[in-house]
């Protein structure tokens, strides 16, 4: 491979061109695979009126890491699209909730598998699909359904992205990515759904072509920029999960 390396030196440089109003997805599920360093850079960058897509708005655990809730607190967010806009235990109030209840940010609550499939569909050029998930619930009220082979399905639309932030364990300079364990979660579908995918990477970026092609999880054609995560304390790394105490 002769392409120029996609590695950029800093997280600030990687997010510099993000305009106001962009739609950006953050990969990850709980701690694994969350691009904390890129989210932090977006907080510093200050782009506003953003639409953010992720599994959760964050803030359920301590120590708190950069999350959607912080971007909301920072006045940068217009809308979130998440599988959790509240904690699993409704009595556990997320930092996001206060702003949502005050009407300062919009939210679209999407079942997790539907969220993943809307992203996958966007990456595969499929505009919409039918799913049995959420049929008969309040999420399906006043929406288009269709009976297929005797069962009712809900129409869901693809969710294309301007940017995806992902975190991988390993990358080569072409952008081929390998994830570790449950780091993989939403990251591969988000990478395919985005016009620009930016990956933060745990290990040193390898020369292009040095990952066995059979072992590539996300092909480099979907990845535009790579940043190596520096060691602690400069870089942000997953920590042991602790329940939030109040």
């Amino acid at each position: 491979m002769t392409q120029k390396s996609k590695q950029v030196a800093t997280f600030q440089e990687a997010v510099r061109d993000i305009p106001d109003g962009a739609t950006i997805a953050f990969g990850g599920f709980a701690m694994p695979g969350v691009p904390f360093n890129l989210i932090k850079a977006l907080l510093e960058h200050g782009a506003r009126q953003l639409t953010l897509v992720a599994n959760t708005t964050g803030g359920a655990q301590q120590p708190r890491m950069p999350d959607i809730g912080m971007l909301v607190e920072n006045g940068q967010v217009k809308k979130v699209i998440c599988a959790f806009t509240a904690a699993t235990r409704p009595t556990d109030v997320l930092p996001f909730t206060k702003y949502y209840e005050a009407g300062e940010v919009e939210a679209e609550l999407v079942p997790q598998g539907t969220l993943a499939e809307r992203l996958r569909a966007a990456g595969a050029g499929i505009p919409a699909f039918y799913t049995p998930t959420a049929v008969g619930t309040e999420l399906a009220e006043r929406r288009e359904t269709r009976v297929i082979n005797g069962r009712e399905y809900l129409l869901e639309y693809a969710l294309p992205l301007d940017y995806a932030f992902v975190r991988a364990r390993r990358a080569d300079a072409f952008g081929n990515l390998q994830f570790h364990r449950s780091q993989r979660n939403f990251n591969p579908v988000m990478a395919t759904a985005a016009r620009v995918t930016i990956a933060e990477v745990d290990e040193d970026i390898l020369p292009a072509g040095s990952i066995d092609p059979d072992m590539v999880h996300t092909p480099g054609i979907y990845v535009n920029r790579l940043v190596k995560v520096p060691p602690l304390p400069e870089g942000l790394w997953p920590t042991r999960r602790q329940e939030r105490r109040r």
Binding site: F29, A30, M31, P32, G33, N55, A83, F84, T85, A86, A87, T88, R89, P90, T97, Y100, E101, A107, L109, V110, P111, Q112, G113, T114, T131, P132, T133, A134, V135, G136, T137, E138, L139, R169, H180, R181, S182, Q183, R184, N185, P238, T239, R240, R241
Partner: protein, 185 residues
């Protein structure tokens, strides 16, 4: 966790794990269901799946043995939001409830203030309709029928009348009602 009557949380999970058949792929929700992964399932091959993509996990990792890039995830709760609450925590619960071949519910029979959790009509926003196969509580094992619950097994120390009084829907004792089976251990 407050003291509860009847079975312990692990015993409820153990009872549901008895239902798992050789070769099943099982997603365990967060909370009591996760404890099923601690149950000795003998020589049955059960594959535990978690909606963040992990397939084939085992008992809950001991402190110090965790991999910080490997977590189990949950979300299989019947209530993803409170009545009137703005937003909610659906996670994968709707996908699992709508798409699984069988849905088992494990929950404490009554709330902290003593109200029944098994009711005639769910007045909380539903996760899916008409999908539940079996319900295990600390009081017994129940099969929803649409018009009420058939009690198939009863936990030690309870009478049918006691369970009925704590249930918010018609309760029919099965003709072959038996004592709650426990996992062989």
């Amino acid at each position: 966790m407050s003291e509860t009557k009847g079975l312990t949380r692990q015993q409820m999970a153990d009872r549901v794990a008895l239902e798992f058949q050789d070769g099943w792929i099982v997603n365990l929700g967060v909370g009591i269901p996760t404890l099923c992964s601690n149950t000795d399932i003998g020589d049955r091959d059960i594959i535990y799946h978690s909606e963040n993509g992990v397939i084939g996990y085992g008992p809950i990792a001991a402190e110090g043995a965790e991999d910080l890039n490997l977590v189990n995830a949950g979300g299989q709760n019947a209530n993803w939001k409170l009545k009137g609450q703005k937003g909610g925590g659906i996670g994968g619960a709707m996908d699992l409830a709508a798409c699984a071949k069988r849905v088992f519910i494990i929950l404490e029979h009554v709330t902290r203030d003593g109200s029944p959790r098994l009711v005639q009509r769910c007045d909380l926003p539903v996760t899916a309709r008409g999908v539940v196969t079996l319900v295990a509580t600390n009081y017994g094992l129940f099969q929803p029928t649409g018009s009420g619950f058939v009690m198939r097994e009863i936990a030690p120390g309870f009478t049918v009348e006691e369970v009925r009084a704590a249930t918010g829907a018609p309760l029919i004792a099965a003709e072959d009602l038996r004592a709650m089976r426990m996992a062989a251990s």
